[in-house]
């Protein structure tokens, strides 16, 4: 398991990760979710002892990573796909990595087979597609047959077949009792793979909950209404609904059932162009949740602040 306690990392004046506390439990896939720049990679690096926390701590299997000897037997990590020398062959990369932990060289062929890279084992990594590089990252993580796996954005750049393969692999690894911690910025992908979600935004913990619960909460519905009559929003509010007016004039109505909306329109002779019950997609729920926690919100005006 992975335990983070009050984990904080500052790079100069920038706080990348602020007071993160969470546990990643074995036997299930834990999704680590957040928009780009939320601090997922920083957290992974802190966990692997690559960066030192400014405050707090993180332990893997009860120990700080920097104190681990031959850690590949305990923890397999797939970092950003670029953490490989492009001039080395897949096999050369894995051989050097295996040797550094005293892992027998025959294991290299095992993981090459497991990830379907046997045929390109002697090809330079520099000419690999993104998908092949991702597979090589997985192969490297599996070298020591570890009980804990940390994978940073493993589905990035994979074709649908590759995504399905990873999903299946992660599930079976978790089913074997391993701790599987997978970061992603794609909510829908995580909803299909993870049993549990840790959501962060702007370096802070937003949610630590089961995927089921997250989906249930995030899918709260609303009613979408379009009407050429500007008065309708006001009318709905007068009858107790909460109304948000979109940029294109569509109304998002909550706190009122769809039948009442329709009856209200009919009663006041208001023309409706659309009346439909909507369920927020997971992606929307996720964006809603992290809206206030995105560092780089696209801003149109405000040139002074951008400069």
């Amino acid at each position: 398991m992975i335990e983070a306690r009050g984990l904080t990392k500052k790079y100069g004046a920038t706080v990348a990760v602020r007071d993160l506390t969470f546990d990643v439990m074995p036997g299930r896939v834990t999704g680590f979710l957040g928009p780009n720049g939320a601090g997922k990679t920083t957290t992974m690096r802190l966990t692997l002892g690559l960066d030192s926390p400014s405050a707090g701590r993180v332990r893997v299997g009860g120990r700080p990573y920097r104190g681990m000897r031959r850690p590949l037997f305990d923890v397999g990590a797939m970092l950003e796909s670029a953490a490989i020398h492009p001039g080395r062959s897949a096999r050369g990369h894995l051989l050097a990595l295996a040797q550094s932990n005293g892992i027998p060289h025959r294991r290299v062929d095992d993981v090459l087979g497991l990830t379907g890279l046997d045929s390109v084992a002697r090809v330079r990594v520099g000419v690999f597609s993104l998908g092949m590089t991702q597979r090589l990252g997985i192969a490297a993580a599996m070298l020591g047959d570890p009980a804990v796996l940390l994978l940073d954005e493993p589905v990035n750049g994979l074709d649908p077949e590759g995504v399905a393969w990873i999903r299946q692999l992660l599930r079976s690894l978790a089913a074997e009792g391993r701790t599987v911690f997978v970061s992603s910025h794609l909510m829908t992908e995580m909803a299909q793979t993870a049993d549990h979600l840790i959501v962060i935004g702007r370096g802070q913990l937003i949610a630590d909950t089961s995927t089921e619960e997250f989906v249930r909460q995030g899918s709260a519905g609303y009613i979408q209404v379009r009407s050429p009559d500007d008065r309708f929003a006001q009318l709905l509010r007068q009858h107790g609904a909460t109304v948000t007016v979109g940029d294109d004039g569509t109304l998002a109505v909550t706190g009122m059932i769809i039948a009442t909306v329709g009856e209200l329109a009919a009663h006041h002779g208001i023309v409706l162009h659309e009346l439909v019950a909507k369920r927020a997609s997971l992606e929307e729920a996720f964006m809603e949740l992290t809206k206030n926690a995105i560092d780089y919100q696209p801003r149109v005006a405000d040139p002074e602040k951008r400069a």
């Binding site: 690559l50 960066d51 104190g67 001039g87 050097a96 009980a147 074997e176």
Partner: protein, 284 residues
């Protein structure tokens, strides 16, 4: 981590993979890993080839030219001629190639990001650096010594045309030959230390070249009287004292061979120690 796997689920079955005996030295595995890393990229072969060619071919070319133009030289120049050291002058080219390799084997890990893979696999950062330094310096010393023997014998053969040659049994000759190899190995280590410290290929090579090639030239601007008192302590002149009198160590009074080499090793040790501390403390 088997202890931490959930009690309700079976631990993964791992019949084939066992953690090595805890008494097996980690350093040997790390050194072997660095050995594999070195020989699985092309740049190693190229830079070592250029190192060897530089020492042998450039040395032979100079020896041949010297023998050809010997008649025209002054008596003083002839008296100062050291045939052993002269045949080894190709070290001047070789040091650039071995230094480049020393820089690149560590900076390439930073530029490609593979340093994170390396350090995640071995959090004992100091030991990683030590393993890299050991493997590389042994390879550099072997290539350096083999090349300098070749350069010596080839050079003496060319000088023999004019009867200027010396032989390997002559006083100081063997020291010069082996010293050239050792100098190249320590040059490589110095470059490795600079690479580990600076982490950028271009920056590290610039500092390396500046230190070994530009600084000595700069000090030639000093008045002759105060020149050698300073220049003999420069890394280049101190280290090259072990090779002997060549055109490339401008100090009129070099340190004695082994004292000079010890001074050069001390500079290198300081750089490596600072690099070691930086590597242990910095984020990667």
């Amino acid at each position: 981590m088997t202890v931490s796997t959930s009690a309700t689920r079976p631990a993964p079955a791992r019949p084939s993979l066992r953690r090595p005996d805890k008494f097996r030295p980690l350093f040997l595995d790390l050194a072997h890993s660095e050995w594999i890393k070195l020989w699985t990229v092309r740049s190693t072969y190229w830079t070592l080839l250029v190192t060897a060619l530089g020492v042998v071919a450039a040395g032979a070319a100079l020896s041949g030219a010297y023998a050809k133009h010997y008649q025209g030289l002054s008596a003083a120049a002839k008296a100062a001629f050291d045939p052993a050291a002269y045949s080894l002058s190709g070290f001047f080219i070789g040091q650039l190639a071995i230094g480049t390799l020393g820089v690149v084997i560590i900076t390439s890990e930073y530029t490609t990001g593979s340093i994170r893979t390396t350090l995640a696999a071995a959090p004992q950062r100091g030991m990683v650096l030590a393993a890299k330094a050991t493997v590389f310096s042994v390879i550099a010393a072997v290539i350096g010594i083999v090349s300098s023997f070749c350069a010596f014998f080839l050079g003496q053969t060319l000088l023999a045309n004019k009867g200027l040659e010396t032989h390997i049994g002559a006083p100081g000759a063997l020291r010069s030959v082996i010293g050239t190899g050792l100098y190249l190995a320590v040059v490589g280590l110095l470059a490795l230390g600079l690479g580990a410290l600076i982490r950028r290929t271009a920056g590290a090579i610039a500092v390396f070249v500046g230190l070994l090639l530009v600084v000595p030239v700069f000090f030639q601007a000093l008045p002759a009287a105060s020149q050698s008192a300073i220049t003999k302590f420069l890394p280049s002149d101190a280290g090259q004292a072990l090779i002997g009198r060549t055109k490339f160590a401008p100090s009129s009074s070099l340190l004695s061979p082994w004292v000079g080499f010890a001074v050069f090793c001390a500079y290198t040790a300081v750089v490596l120690i600072v690099a070691f501390i930086a590597l242990s403390r910095r984020d990667s």
